[in-house]
């Protein structure tokens, strides 16, 4: 099976056309005998069979005749491009070309829109003529044209929270200490498609730079937390390279975005949490589930295994003999209680107590200093990764020493140096506030 994107199948009489594209020129074939312009270029003029043909250089202006936004059911080799806009454009030279409209949001493309040619290199022999809006204000700004207006630097993907289509991103809670990232495809049980993966990566990288936030709540809208990879992805996985990329790009990047976001990520499991959904949960720091939630990894039923970190993380997240059962059985009906008894979850709440109980926990953790939560996440992660105890203790010791002497804590310390009794008093109060059994 072909894995590379197709390049144009060039004929001897179209070589000149493609050579010109490499120099950024758009040629139109012209018959010197009957004066007609010809597209697709031919060996002889289709009007008069003359062989006296030449090329004229087109200014590359055109009007959109019709277009479509490709969203689904394309060949695996084009899946990575989705969504993309295919169009037919009319050139004043009297020819119509099939092309792509680029540098433009699909919703801004319209019939009759003026466009101009741009070239996209596809091989050493040729560049594909594509078209962008002639009106520069309709073009998507490229990264170097974009001015950073907010304090938070743009994440690498070029996405912004207001563009998110598959997740919600909201900062709230007391002192803006909580970021709520909610998987938001309830009609699809929050199944993960490429868009959602990209948005999750963007959101977790983005929140890393928000200093007020100490806690991220990852939840699912509607009845499920997440049922894993969207079936719409599957056809594309038939292609080796795409499949590997889905695991190593989208998959690994989502996990890394969560584990390296430097916030305590609290996963709120309110319903089905299956396959890739469970794997995303495993990358989080704390897992709270509603009693009615159902969990499991179903990959083995297709003859594969959890590939978004599940096969590696489950045995590290619970006793290994229980983890193996989950992976090998392919069951999707483990109850939250069962999972808890097997050692996986942080805590399970009765359905009617879930919301209130969860909120309390989040509020409590969010009241801690983000800098301490961040350091805690790092020390525990390194330690749990299985380095030797002496190394772990050194990481811990030095981390905490650094914390103690961080400007944040030192500011507090200044007042306590003046009144040591106040330190003890305040600490007692803070301790009591964090308790549940009062």
């Amino acid at each position: 099976m072909e894995t590379q994107k197709p390049t144009p199948v060039i004929q001897p009489w179209t070589k000149e056309f493609w050579k010109a594209t490499k120099q950024g020129k758009l040629f139109v074939q012209h018959c010197n005998d009957c004066n007609s312009n010809i597209f697709f270029p031919k060996k002889v003029c289709p009007e008069c069979w003359s062989e006296n043909l030449s090329w004229i250089e087109s200014p590359g202006k055109a009007k959109v005749y019709t277009f479509t936004e490709m969203l689904d059911m394309v060949e695996p080799k084009f899946m990575g491009d989705l969504p993309y806009v295919i169009a037919m454009v009319d050139l004043p030279e009297g020819i119509r070309m099939t092309t792509r409209i680029v540098n433009c949001k699909p919703e801004n493309v319209a019939i009759g829109m003026n466009v101009e040619v741009v070239f996209q290199d596809v091989s050493s022999d040729c560049a594909l003529p594509m078209f962008q809006p002639a009106d520069a204000s309709l073009r998507i700004k490229t990264a170097d044209q974009e001015e950073s207006v907010t304090g938070a630097p743009e994440a690498e993907t070029g996405l912004k929270p207001e563009d998110y289509q598959t997740i919600q991103y909201e900062i709230g809670g007391k002192n803006d200490a909580v970021c709520f990232i909610t998987l938001n495809r309830p009609e699809k049980y929050n199944a993960i498609n490429r868009r959602m993966a990209a948005e999750l990566i963007d959101a977790f990288r983005r929140v890393r730079d928000i200093l007020t936030v100490g806690v991220v709540v990852l939840a699912g809208a509607g009845k499920a937390f997440c049922t894993g990879g969207d079936l719409e992805i599957f056809p594309s996985l038939a292609e080796h390279q795409n499949s590997l990329n889905w695991l190593s790009h989208e998959g690994l990047d989502v996990q890394r975005a969560i584990t390296s976001c430097e916030k305590v990520v609290i996963c709120k499991i309110n319903g089905h949490c299956l396959a890739g959904g469970l794997e995303v949960a495993l990358a989080c720091d704390l897992l709270y589930a509603k009693a009615s939630a159902k969990m499991g990894t179903t990959e083995i039923n297709m003859g594969i295994l959890p590939g978004w970190g599940g096969t590696a993380r489950l045995p590290r997240s619970m006793p290994i003999f229980r983890a193996r059962e989950i992976i090998y059985s392919g069951r999707k009906d483990y109850t939250a209680k069962e999972m808890y008894d097997m050692g996986l979850l942080t805590r399970v709440f009765a359905d009617d107590e879930f919301e209130a109980g969860f909120e309390k926990i989040v509020n409590n953790i969010a009241s801690k200093k983000p800098i301490a939560l961040r350091m805690g996440k790092e020390i525990m992660a390194r330690s749990a990764d299985g380095c030797d105890l002496e190394t772990a203790l050194a990481v811990e010791r030095n981390g905490i020493q650094w914390l103690t002497y961080s400007p944040d804590i030192q500011e507090l310390m200044d007042q306590f140096r003046a009144r040591p009794d106040q330190l003890t008093q305040q600490q007692k109060q803070q301790n009591i506030k964090s308790d549940v059994n009062k």
Partner: protein, 393 residues
Amino acid sequence: MGKKNLAIIGVGEVPTGTYPGRSQWDIIYETCIQAVRDAGIHKNDVEAVITVAPQAQPQLTAEISFGMIPEELGLKGCKDVCICNAGGASTSNCLRLAEEMINSGAAEFILIPHMTVHSTIPLPDLINFFAKAGIDLQWEYPYGTTYNGIIAMMTRRYMYETGTTAEEMASVVVSLRKWAALDPNSIFYGKEVPSIEKILSSGMVSSPLRKRECNVLADGGAALLVTSAETAAKIGRPAAVKLGEGTRFFSAFTTTRSTEKVLEGFVKGTDEALAQAGLKKDEIDIWNLYMAYPVGHPLFMEAVGLCEPGQAGKMFMEGHTWPGGKRPWSPIGDAIGRGHTGSGVSTATYVETARQLMGKAGARQVPNAKYVFQNTSGGSGMNFIATVWGRNI
């Protein structure tokens, strides 16, 4: 020797579906035997086999090209075989070739089988085949076009020019599915007909085309047994007789195809077929259209003047094209309603034309149907073959 009219006197068909476990030859046996028995002739009366090219199935193509059908079926009287390929227009050309052989006296009874099993073709190969068929490898394919994409672009332009709404486009699917629900050979037989809302709530594939406005690839097979109208009358078989034909070629690719030329071709091809048959539009009882996607239906209806310009959407929406409506339209529900069997949808369309005229169409039977108009088209809509059929006199 005067020109004889072609007559379909036997049909055979397996329900369209998914048969990964069923061998291609198993289907060929069933449909061919059905057609020969339906015609009431002996197997050894079959003097030629002209097969609809099995697209995307190279091994089967080779087997059939080299004579395996008469061999397997023991057609001892067979004088010749060949495969005929013009994509979705293949069956029309099989029929024409048969007509010539019958007219020249080369054969009296001719078998025209079709067989497609999509479900055993590996998905990437299938997607690849349909991504490239009728799509230019130099000027279209590298951009990531697909059949759905091409049709989506045609649909958008049609809606733009006529003001047809998304609801009206969806109503074409409703109409086709209403027929399909009555057709035991459709994948949607007996299934709930989706509402306009349900169609519009299905996922967008290539805007403005949604999942339920696209075709489901399926397996299927059919066979026609043809002879001359004269012979049909002589042996006393009910028959569908070809009365007229008109053809136009447009272009190999959609990029190079002008809508104006297509519309003009629809009109001229239809007029020629009707004129040959000595009929007027109003005398046609069933418009049995093969358009593969929704957009061709309103486009054709308006071009040929079966409604006011821009009003075709309403015809479908208001139910005129439904079973029992005043303008019965595509009674197997086209590829949308039948399931897409490659070039086989056109074979199935001819089978339906014959059934309606033989009075064998069951719940879809249009009462007293005397004249059926039917078309086929190949590739990405490269051509238009209009034919008019009538009952045996």
